[in-house]
Amino acid sequence: MKGFHLYLTAAFIMLMVLAVTMPTASARPVSYAGGWTMMSMNSGSAHTMHLHYSPTAFTSWGYKAEYWRGEDHQIHALQMNNLLKRWNNPDSQGNLYLKSGAGVALSDYGDFENKTEPALFTGLAADWEDRRYFVSYENRVTEAGDIRRDFQQSGRVGIAPYIGDYGDLHTWLMLEVEHTPESEDNVTVTPMVRLFKGNTLVETGLSNHGDVMFNLVYRY
């Protein structure tokens, strides 16, 4: 526990130091009307892939595949994302989304042998950003019968060490805290670097559990 506190303090100090030296970012679940987005998220807890299409600027539909490492199960679902509200201000933007999915969960974990259950999940995601700061929060409830039933939430803060122009390589330093009450290690803290240029966004970091995080988002 002492080590965890030390790690958290070090990450916080690092962000504060970077704050005095200081563009924007988000891997949003809804794209522009007619846009496709591929999102691959990889961390110590899960590997996920989400491919979605946005028929309007307010809704996207797509396929979501998840492999959860801890309880060794998969979820395959049709996911719908809704932009509930967007606050477009001169120097900032805020968003509120509802992300929901329905599909199937598969597991061989423990006593399970080719166990299959219907799976449902839903959650809210909110973000706010200007060209220097970023804050987000999201949660999710998952119901997959005997395979899984839980609640997760996570939050992020980010800061841009420099403000780039349109077309530049943009860099963000972020700190993510995940809370999964029912897990053994129920708090995961991940300092990370987010880079994006053009239509490609990459994030990489290392969690307090020693797991590497790597996310890739491509919009086309």
């Binding site: 563009p23 924007t24 970012a25 988000s26 949003r28 794209s31 522009y32 009307a33 007619g34 846009g35 309007t56 600027a57 509200k85 967007r86 606050w87 477009n88 201000n89 001169p90 120097d91 900032s92 933007q93 950003e129 200007d130 060209r131 780039g164 122009d165 349109y166 077309g167 530049d168 943009h170 994006f196 053009g198 239509n199 966004l201 919009r219």
Partner: protein
């Protein structure tokens, strides 16, 4: 013969002069430039949507985004025809819809025409204001903001993304 050639040359010169003047004054192909001030223009990664949405159209020559001044500059294709024909154009309602589809809110739209070496203002001067969702808009007849904005550092993206 020399007199004939000389007379013919002078005749051609007089005939040609007005034509040349027409081209020098107004005859260069005119390309319309639409400048949009938008709210929510914060994120480079997200603003790529503007390129995608506008460059799908065959009548847009280029689009540039300035995150500092919150301006989107849309250059329409020139018609290549004599003065008076502005080439491709998009009405304000469509511009507002496209920008809303890209996720932003329109604050104002101004228009200018680039013909030859100088800019010629041809806009109606109407500023259009949208709500946060960028859906409803009302018009206010202020002078707009076509002057006074710096476009230094603009990155112009030309060509088709289709």
């Amino acid at each position: 013969m020399k007199k004939f050639i000389l007379s013919f040359a002078v005749f051609l010169a007089f005939m040609g002069l007005p034509v040349m003047n027409v081209h020098a004054d107004t005859g260069a192909p005119a390309a319309e430039i639409i400048t949009v001030e938008a709210n929510g223009l914060i994120c480079d990664f997200c603003a790529r949507s503007l390129e995608k949405v506008f460059m799908k159209r065959g009548d847009v020559a280029a689009i540039s985004v300035d995150l500092d001044s919150k301006l989107i500059t849309i250059t329409m294709k020139s018609s290549g025809k004599p003065s008076g024909d502005q080439g491709g154009s998009i009405d304000d309602e469509t511009v507002t819809k496209l920008i809303t589809d890209a996720g932003y809110s329109v604050v104002s739209i101004t228009r200018s025409a680039q013909a030859g070496s100088g800019d010629l203002q041809v806009g109606d001067g109407l500023d259009r204001t949208t709500n946060d969702a960028g859906q409803d808009h009302s018009m206010d007849h202020s002078d707009g903001h076509s002057d006074g904005h710096s476009h230094e550092g603009d990155h112009v993206h030309e060509g088709s993304h289709e």
